[in-house]
C-alpha cells in the first residue's frame, strides 16, 4: 500500500520486548473503548460520562472495588487454569467444568463434616478451611486429569473433551443442589446450603476480599518462576513448542499432558472455591452459578493476551474484572438495555486479539522508490 509517496510496509518481528507488548495491549484497550463509544452515542449516552462512571465505580468506589477485586481473583485463577496447559501447547477450554467440580469438592468437605445442618455447627476453621481449599484443588485437578489422560494416552483432542466435560459438570452441580440433591438448600430455592460460619474464609477487611487474593498472586508469580527456571517448567515449555523434539530428548508426553491438566484443573478448582466458598456474602452455590462458569472463559483471553505469562495476565484480569462490574453498574444508572457489560467486554476482547497482529508484525513507512513497474506502466 502506498500513501503520498510513502509505502506502508509490514515487517515480521524477530523479537518483541515486554514493554512494547504492553504498549500494544494498552493501545488495543484504548481503540476498543473508542469503538465502543459508538454504542453509547447511538443509545444517546455521553460516552465520556459513561466511561467515567464505569471506571470510577469499578476502581474507586468502595463497593465497586470490592466486587472488582473478587472478580479479579476469580479471573486470575481461571487464567492460570488456561495458562498451564497452554505452555505445553494444549488448550484448556474446561475451566468452567473444573471450577464446578472444585466447588462441589469443597462443599463435600463441609457436608461430610456435618456442616449442612445449621449455620452454627461448631467446626474447627483451621481444619475445615484448609481441607476445603485442598479439596477444591483436587476436585478441579481430577476433572482436568480426564482430558489430560485421554490426550496423553490416546491423543484425543483436548479442546473437545474439556468443552464437553463442562456440560457434564454443569448438570452435576444442578443434580447436587436442586430438588433432592444432597447439597440442596433446606428451603429449596434451587441453590446449595449455606456454609456454616466456621467455614467462612479469612477476609482482608480493608478490601473485603478473602485471602484467596494473596494465594492467586503468589501462584501467578510462582508459576512464572517454575516456567522460567525449573526443570519441569522447561520440559513443559519444550513440549509446548516442539513435541517431537521434546520426545527426542526423553520428555514423556503422557506425563506432561496429565500434569498440566491436573495443575490447570486445580487452579480452576481454586477459582470455584474462591467465588462460591470464600467471597463474603456469597457462601453458597447460587442459582445463577452458570454466570460465573461463563465468566471463567475470560481466562482464555487473559492468557492469550499475556502470551502465557501468568504475571502479565494479572492486569488484564483486573481490567476485565473491573469492566464487568462497572459496565453492569453503568447500564443500570443510565437505564441502558441489558447486556452492555457483555458487549463492552466482547469488543475489548476483539480489539485485544486483533492487535496481537502487531505482536508479530511491525509497521514501517518508507519513501517510495521511483522505478517503473512494467506490468502497470507500459
Amino acid at each position: 500500500m502506498s500513501v503520498a509517496g510513502y509505502r506502508i510496509r509490514l515487517r515480521r518481528r524477530t523479537t518483541l520486548p515486554g514493554w512494547e507488548a504492553a504498549l500494544i495491549s494498552i493501545l488495543a484497550v484504548v481503540v476498543g473503548l473508542v469503538l465502543f463509544s459508538l454504542i453509547f452515542v447511538l443509545a444517546g449516552v455521553d460516552p465520556v460520562a459513561a466511561y467515567k462512571n464505569i471506571f470510577s465505580y469499578a476502581y474507586t468506589n468502595k463497593y465497586g472495588l470490592t466486587l472488582t477485586l473478587n472478580r479479579f481473583v476469580f479471573l486470575a485463577f481461571a487464567t492460570l487454569a488456561f495458562i498451564v496447559p497452554y505452555r505445553a501447547g494444549l488448550w484448556n477450554i474446561g475451566m468452567t467444568g473444573q471450577l464446578y467440580m472444585g466447588t462441589l469438592a469443597a462443599y463435600a468437605v463441609v457436608y461430610a463434616m456435618g456442616g449442612k445442618t445449621s449455620p452454627k455447627v461448631p467446626l474447627n476453621p483451621y481444619v475445615v478451611i484448609p481441607l476445603m481449599v485442598m479439596a477444591a484443588a483436587a476436585g478441579g485437578g481430577l476433572m482436568g486429569a480426564i482430558p489430560g489422560f485421554l490426550k496423553g494416552k490416546l491423543n484425543v483432542n483436548e479442546i473437545v473433551t474439556t468443552m464437553m466435560l463442562n456440560f457434564v459438570a454443569f448438570w452435576w452441580v444442578a443434580q447436587m443442589i436442586k430438588e433432592g440433591g444432597p447439597f440442596m438448600n433446606p428451603q429449596g430455592r434451587g441453590e446449595s446450603f449455606v456454609l456454616p460460619y466456621a467455614a467462612y474464609a479469612p477476609v482482608i477487611t480493608s478490601l473485603g476480599v478473602p485471602f484467596t487474593l494473596i494465594l492467586a498472586l503468589v501462584l501467578a508469580i510462582g508459576l512464572d518462576f517454575v516456567f522460567a527456571r525449573t526443570k519441569i517448567g522447561y520440559q513443559i515449555r519444550a513440549f509446548g513448542r516442539n513435541p517431537l523434539a521434546a520426545r527426542y530428548a526423553g520428555i514423556d508426553p503422557f506425563r506432561i499432558a496429565v500434569l498440566v491438566f491436573v495443575v490447570g484443573g486445580a487452579m480452576a478448582g481454586l477459582a470455584g472455591y474462591h467465588y462460591f466458598a470464600a467471597v463474603p456474602g456469597v457462601y453458597k452455590i447460587a442459582r445463577n452459578y452458570s454466570y460465573f462458569g461463563d465468566l471463567a472463559f475470560y481466562g482464555i483471553i487473559c492468557g492469550l493476551i499475556s502470551q502465557g505469562s501468568a504475571i502479565a495476565a494479572l492486569p488484564v484480569a483486573l481490567l476485565f474484572g473491573g469492566l464487568s462490574v462497572g459496565g453492569r453498574f453503568m447500564q443500570g444508572k443510565f437505564h441502558m438495555k441489558f447486556g452492555v457489560d457483555y458487549a463492552l467486554l466482547g469488543v475489548l476482547m476483539i480489539t485485544l486479539v486483533a492487535f496481537q497482529f502487531f505482536y508479530r508484525y511491525e509497521v514501517t513507512l518508507e519513501k517510495e522508490e521511483e522505478s517503473l513497474h512494467v506490468a502497470v506502466h507500459r
Binding site: 516442539n242 517431537l244 527426542y248 530428548a249 513497474h373 506490468a375 507500459r378
Partner: protein, 531 residues
C-alpha cells in the same frame, strides 16, 4: 478474483508477446547492484548478474552466502533496498511473485509446492490465468504433453501427485512454470532430493531447455560436479558478494570450492587409526514397522565396537530412519534385541538411553533436533536438562548452561550474533553444528548420526565429518547413516548397504569397492564378506 483477472490477462499476453522473440545469446535478465540488508547482516551486497537466453548460469554459494535472498528478490518475494532488475533491457520492479511470474520468471522450489491429492495436470493448471475462465483440460493436456516431450519429461498427466517420485514431482513443477510461459527458469538446489539416475535425467532436460532458448539459473550449494557438467557460466557468492564470475570451461571443482568457502578445502579426510575395543552395540534380528504400519526394518543384525564407525549406506526410505529411531528409543521394535554395553535396552525408555550414554543426531534437524522458538541456550539444555551438572533440586542453573553454550559455540564455530537468538534464525549448517555440539558434549559411548551432512555446504560438511572422526578417536562407537556413498566410504570402518529394510552385507571399508556397494544399495545381491 474475476476483476483482477480482467485487468491482468491482457497485460500478461502483451508481455508474452514481447518476450516471444527472444534471441539466443541476448541478455534476457540483468541485475545491477542489488543490495539487501537484514537486521545485523548484509545479505546481498551490490550483486551484478547477467543471464543470456539459451544459457545455464549457475549461482554457487554456501548457506548464508545470500543465495536465498537473491532468489527471493528475483521472484518478487523480497524487495531489494537498492539496485535494479532489467528484463530485456527494461527496468522492472517485482512487488510480488505474481509480477515476476507475469514477467516470464519461473521458480522451482526445493520444497515442492504441489497439491498431493490432485492430478499432475490439475496441479499444472492450478493458478494458471486461463484456468480461471473456461477450462479446456483436454487442450491443456495436449499442450503440456507436447512441452513434456520437447524437454524429455516422461510423465503421466493423469497420475496423482502423491504417487510420484521426487524427480517426477520436480518435473511437474518445471512443466507448471514452463506452461505459464516462463522464459527464465530459476531452480533451487535442483538435484538435492533426487536419486543419481533421476538427477542425470533432470540435467538432460535442463540442457534441452537452455538449447531451446530459455535462460536457466540453478542455485547450488554443493554437488559441484553437477555444476561443472551442465552450466555455461558460474557466479560464486560469498558473504553476500560476488567473489567469482567465470565460464564453466575455465573452472575446476577445487577452484570453485575454494572460492565458495574462501580457503582451501580438503576433499579427502585422513581416517585416524583407532584400535577397536570392546563391543558397545549389539543388534540382533531387529525388525520394526514404519509410520504406515508396513514392515520397514527386516531382521537386521550387526555389532559396533569402541572406536569404530559403522556406515549404513542407502537411499533414504530403505529403513534407515526406522533403525535409528529404534536404537534411540523413539520407535518400538516388533522383534529382535538391542544390547548396549552388555545390557538389554530393547525396551528402555528414551531418557534412560541418553543417561546411559547414547547420543542421537536426528536427520530432522528442525522438526526433531531443535526447538525453533527457543534460544540457543535453551536448545543446548535439551540434552542436559536431566543432568545433575546443570540442574539441582529441580532448578536449572542457567549460568552453567550459558557457559556451556558459549563454549560449544566457540568450539564448533557456530556463526550467530549471540546465544539468545532463536534457533530458527540459524542456517542449516549452523543449526547442525549446534546439535552436533550439544550431543557430542555428552561424550556418548554410542553416537547415532543420521544424515549428518545432508544439505550442508562444503565448509560445514567438512567440519561435521572431522568432528565424527574426533569422536571416533575418543573411542565412541558411531553409527553413521548416509545417502552419500563417498561419505560412507571416507569415514567408515564397516560399510553396510541397506535396501528395503535389510542390510545387504557388511563389508570392511578397506575391501569395499564402490561398484559393489552401489549395486547392493540398489538391491542387487553381491557376494557377502562376513564381519
Amino acid at each position: 478474483m474475476a476483476a483482477a483477472e480482467v485487468r491482468e490477462a491482457p497485460v500478461q499476453e502483451e508481455i508474452q508477446e514481447w518476450l516471444a522473440d527472444v534471441e539466443p545469446g541476448e541478455v534476457i535478465l540483468e541485475v545491477r547492484g542489488i543490495t539487501k540488508r537484514f537486521p545485523g547482516v548484509l545479505a546481498n551486497d551490490h550483486i551484478d548478474l547477467q543471464l543470456r537466453a539459451g544459457e545455464i548460469h549457475a549461482i554457487l554459494g554456501e548457506n548464508g552466502a545470500g543465495k536465498t535472498t537473491l532468489m527471493s528478490i528475483l521472484f518478487g518475494l523480497l524487495q531489494p533496498d537498492s539496485g535494479e532488475i532489467y528484463i530485456r533491457g527494461r527496468k522492472v520492479q517485482f512487488r510480488s511473485p505474481l509480477d515476476a511470474i507475469n514477467m516470464g520468471i519461473g521458480m522451482v522450489h526445493q520444497h515442492r509446492k504441489l497439491v498431493p491429492a490432485h492430478t499432475v495436470i490439475e496441479n499444472i493448471l492450478l493458478g494458471h490465468p486461463r484456468a480461471g475462465k473456461v477450462l479446456n483440460v483436454r487442450r491443456a493436456e495436449e499442450e503440456v504433453k507436447a512441452l513434456a516431450e520437447k524437454y524429455g519429461f516422461n510423465i503421466d498427466l493423469r497420475a496423482r501427485v502423491w504417487q510420484l517420485s521426487e524427480g517426477e514431482k520436480q518435473a511437474v513443477e518445471i512443466l507448471k512454470v514452463l506452461y505459464r510461459g516462463a522464459k527464465i527458469l530459476i531452480l533451487d538446489e535442483p538435484t538435492t532430493a533426487l536419486t543419481p539416475v533421476e538427477a542425470e535425467r533432470l540435467l538432460e532436460s535442463v540442457v534441452a531447455m537452455a538449447r531451446s532458448g530459455l535462460g536457466v539459473v540453478p542455485f547450488i550449494t554443493h554437488k559441484l560436479p553437477v555444476v561443472l557438467a551442465v552450466s555455461d557460466r558460474v557466479t560464486v557468492l560469498r558473504q553476500g558478494r560476488v567473489v567469482a564470475r567465470l565460464e564453466t570451461k575455465d573452472a575446476t571443482e577445487r577452484l570453485l570450492a575454494e572460492k565458495m568457502v574462501g580457503r582451501e578445502v580438503l576433499f579427502h579426510i585422513e581416517k585416524p587409526n583407532v584400535e577397536p575395543g570392546r563391543i558397545v552395540l549389539q543388534v540382533e534380528g531387529l525388525s520394526t514397522l514404519n509410520d504406515k504400519g508396513v514392515e520397514a526394518l527386516k531382521d537386521v543384525s550387526f555389532t559396533i565396537r569402541e572406536g569404530e564407525i559403522f556406515g549404513i549406506a542407502g537411499v533414504s526410505g530403505n529403513g534407515q530412519r526406522e533403525l535409528a529411531e529404534v536404537l534411540a528409543g523413539l520407535r518400538k521394535p516388533t522383534s529382535g534385541r538391542v544390547i548396549f554395553d552388555g545390557q538389554d535396552i530393547t525396551h528402555a525408555p528414551i531418557l534412560e538411553r541418553w543417561q546411559m550414554g547414547i547420543g542421537y543426531i536426528p536427520a530432522e534437524r528442525v522438526d526433531m533436533g531443535s526447538i525453533g522458538d527457543f534460544s540457543l541456550v535453551e536448545n543446548v539444555l535439551l540434552n542436559f536438562y536431566f543432568d545433575n551438572a546443570v540442574v539441582q533440586h529441580g532448578i536449572v542453573d542457567f549460568d552453567r548452561v550459558r557457559q556451556l553454550t558459549r563454549e560449544l559455540i566457540v568450539e564448533f564455530g557456530v556463526s550467530t550474533p549471540g546465544m539468545d537468538v532463536e534457533a530458527k534464525t540459524l542456517s542449516g549448517g549452523n543449526l547442525q553444528k549446534l546439535i552436533l555440539a550439544r550431543v557430542m558434549a555428552r561424550r556418548p559411548k554410542l553416537l547415532i548420526a543420521a544424515l549428518p551432512t545432508q544439505g550442508l555446504d562444503i565448509g560445514a560438511t567438512e567440519f561435521v565429518r572431522k568432528k565424527l572422526l574426533e569422536a571416533k578417536q575418543h573411542r565412541a562407537a558411531i553409527l553413521l547413516i548416509s545417502e552419500d556413498l563417498d561419505e560412507v566410504m571416507m569415514l567408515s570402518d564397516w560399510i553396510a548397504p541397506m535396501y528395503e529394510g535389510r542390510i545387504m552385507g557388511i563389508i570392511p571399508a578397506d575391501q569395499a569397492r564402490r561398484e559393489d556397494i552401489g549395486a547392493m544399495m540398489a538391491g542387487l545381491p553381491v557376494e557377502e564378506k562376513a564381519q
